[in-house]
Symmetry: C2
Subunit: 95 residues, 2 copies
C-alpha cells in the first residue's frame, strides 16, 4: 500500500466542512537496546515548531504515541485553522 | 492497513547490519486553494531539530516530497548513527 492510500485510509473527517489537517508521523525503528529515544525530544520540538507557524489551540492538536515491537511511533494531527486563522498566522510571522 | 503494517511495508533495509532509522512523514491535506503551504517551513525546521539531537551526515538524510490530489507529503528518513555516533550526540547535548 502506498503512502497516499495509507493517509487517505485514516478515519474520515467527522466535521461537515472539510477542515484542513496537518499530520506528522515520527517513527523510530530501534534495533539495539539503549539507543537514544528521540521521540520525546522530537515531540516537544515539533509542538514548538507548529505553534511558531500555525495559530492553533491545544484541542486542535491530537497526539498519539504507539509502540509495536521494535517500532515506536508518534502520530500527531493538527486541525488547521480556516483562512481567517491562517491570515492571523501570516501577519504574526511578518511582525 | 494499520500504521505499523504500513511502516514495515516500506522497502527493506539493504545494509546487512540493521541500521536504526528515524522516519518523519509530514502530510498536509489542503482543501482550499491559497491556504499556506507548511511543508517547506517544516522541512527546514525539522532538519534543524534533527541536527540538534542526532549527529548525522547529509547523506544519511533522505528527503522526498510527493503530491497526490489534495495531499502533499514530506517523507524524511534519517539513518541513525550506530552507538558510537549516538554517544557523541549525547556528550554534545550535555556540553
Amino acid at each position: 500500500m502506498g503512502l497516499f492510500d495509507f493517509l487517505r485510509g485514516s478515519p474520515k473527517q467527522t466535521a461537515t466542512i472539510a477542515k484542513e489537517r496537518l499530520r506528522i508521523i515520527v517513527a523510530q525503528e530501534r534495533s539495539a537496546r539503549g539507543s537514544p529515544d528521540y521521540l520525546p525530544l522530537l515531540r516537544r520540538e515539533l509542538l514548538e515548531v507548529i505553534r511558531k507557524y500555525v495559530n492553533v489551540d491545544q484541542d486542535a492538536i491530537d497526539i498519539q504515541v504507539k509502540r509495536d515491537g521494535d517500532h515506536e511511533v508518534l502520530d500527531l494531527t493538527v486541525t488547521l485553522p480556516d483562512k481567517a486563522g491562517a491570515a492571523a498566522t501570516a501577519a504574526a510571522r511578518e511582525a
